[in-house]
């Protein structure tokens, strides 16, 4: 009985290895793009942790990504050239930024929460533009040249090392997050998402949990940012801006919030299609994305986010009859991405 969920948990990392192997074989000249795709996937995973698992409305997630990127870039320019250490620097910086912004954002629900997240994101972007000695301002931070990975593999012009590093990082992060979301901590986060009042009534400390989850999400986003800094050698203002936050939300919705594989599928699909269509005409791409979003809302009023798991669940529940009480051991539940919109303050936080 216990083996099945474990198998399910191993499925996503295995699928990542398979797909990335196929990507390496099929597009050996596009490895730089595939590496960037993986870095953005980490941002979408990070957003999934707070939006999909905790029901926090945010449009400022790219700030955490950007903080990680700039931190790793500066550490590298400062002489710390080991890529693994640089990733840890990105994680630490992103985590710290996540804790700080989470402490502000998670105090509220609904519109105030959304506006706080936007304001913090814009604040970070304005600071990135202003603190030019740290960020290079609008010119960006350039000349980041990390040393070989683990002292073995140097970065090459075809991005092979970068790609392998990125895949390894993604697999490790996904394994870590799988453990996290299946832990009691992850379960209480979902309880808060589904009904924060009830969660509070059964004794869950809502606010600290949300802040901690925000910090973890920040660390994941920070790793993604550090990964772009290491593999491209530059960090630009676009890595921290509002557009990137909005795009990450679109990708998450596309794949399905509230599951790790959903975030990955969304990030993958969105970027691959964008890679080809936007090269043809960026304005047609914008129109297509917009029309697609409208269609999601019209055709699946509760979003692909719940539409897909619902389909999967109906598929699985037919399987239950043959395999006994297996369903009860899975954690598949209906995600309600933004939770209830009842109160603008979390219960218990009233002064």
């Amino acid at each position: 009985m216990a083996a099945r969920p474990l198998l399910g948990a191993a499925l996503v990392p295995l699928a990542i290895l398979l797909v990335s192997g196929l990507g390496y074989a099929a597009f050996p000249d596009d490895l730089a793009f595939l590496t960037h795709l993986i870095a953005i996937s980490l941002l979408v995973l990070s957003l999934d942790l707070v939006t999909g698992y905790c029901g926090i409305a945010t449009l400022g997630q790219a700030a955490l990504f950007g903080v990680g990127a700039y931190a790793a870039g500066n550490a590298c320019l400062g002489g710390l050239t080991d890529p693994v250490l640089l990733l840890l620097v990105g994680a630490a910086a992103g985590g710290a930024a996540g804790l700080a912004s989470g402490a502000v954002v998670t105090r509220f629900r609904g519109l105030p929460q959304l506006v706080q997240s936007i304001a913090i994101g814009q604040l970070a972007a304005a600071l990135a533009n202003k603190l030019a000695s740290w960020t290079g301002g609008s010119d960006g931070l350039a000349g980041i040249e990390p040393g070989p990975v683990l002292g073995l593999a140097a970065f090459d012009i075809y991005s092979r090392t970068a790609y392998v590093l990125a895949v390894a990082v993604l697999v490790l992060v996904v394994i870590g997050l799988t453990i996290l979301v299946r832990s009691p901590f992850g379960a209480t986060c979902r309880a808060i998402r589904d009904d924060d009042l009830r969660a509070r009534m059964i004794g869950i400390a809502v606010y600290p949990r949300l802040v901690v989850m925000y910090g973890i999400a920040g660390a994941v986003a920070g790793i993604g940012g550090a990964l772009t800094a290491i593999t491209t050698g530059v960090v630009g203002l676009d890595s921290i801006g509002f557009e990137r936050s909005a795009q990450a939300l679109v990708m998450l919705t596309l794949g399905g919030a509230g599951t790790l594989w959903g975030a990955l599928v969304g990030a993958f699909l969105f970027q691959v299609v964008e890679h080809f269509v936007a090269a043809y005409n960026p304005f047609h791409w914008i129109t297509a994305v917009g029309a697609f979003l409208v269609l999601i809302v019209v055709l699946m009023p509760r979003g692909l986010a719940s539409g897909l798991p619902e389909m999967v669940r109906s598929f699985r529940s037919s399987e239950v009859r043959s395999s006994g009480s297996w369903l009860s051991s899975t954690s598949l539940r209906l995600p309600r991405p933004f939770g209830s919109f009842k109160s603008s303050r979390l219960p218990g936080r009233q002064p």
Partner: protein, 289 residues
Amino acid sequence: MTRTILSLAFDALAYGMVLFIISIGLSIMMGLVRVVNLAHGAFAMMGGYIASTLLRGAGLSYLVTLPLAVAATVAVTLPLERLLYRRLYRRTDPLTQILMTIGITFVIIGTANYLLGPTLKPIPLPASLSGPLDLGFRTVPTHRLFVIACGLATALGLWLLLERTEFGIRLRASVDNSDMAESLGLRTDLIYAATFALAVGLGAFGGIVGAELLPIEPFYALRYMVTFLVVVSVGGAGSIPGALAASLLLGLIDTVGKYVAPEFGEFFFYSAVIAVVAIFPNGMLGRAQ
């Protein structure tokens, strides 16, 4: 020094009024039907594009173009209300609203650029509005004065509409208790549609008269989308005095901030936003929900 402060205050007032005219439309919509309409900036941009095309292409005069472009924008967007916005009223969660309205924004941006090209679209002012005006003790740009007058007229007009007309009474009844209003025989769907038209019209109006301060360009809708949402949130959704106070306050902070420390960009603006929202989650003059 005094001269600088005065002209700064004047610029801040004009900028705040532009923010007010555009944001009050969004505020009414969010107060009444609870839709976080991120496409509001796109509607303002659409007004600007139509006005620019009418002025430069058809050669109409400014004061004829203004109402014409506003009416055209409302006419173009009303089918959206019928087909799409109706689904979002009152009950859906913010994620759905964000997704659909960002989607609509993207479609409008893509379409506008496909039809009109990715260049900046000026809205040329008539001679009577483009020069300086001598107030006796000092001269000010006439256009800024015009914008301020438009803002005051909008505030007064809206107040009269909401407080002194039958429509206003019905609208407030629908805001306070939609189910009860419907039970009493009010056609709430018509009231909602009229509110949507009013909101879009105000957005387009602000987009046109504010084009000198917020120039009409391809990414207008995305660039200012957040600003308008923030103004509403700071003021409190559905509150005219709230929106006016928030617009003037944020206009002042932004203008002074950019004058004193231009390289900080919107740093002061968003710091103020975080502070105000942290202290008043429902806005400075909003009602608890």
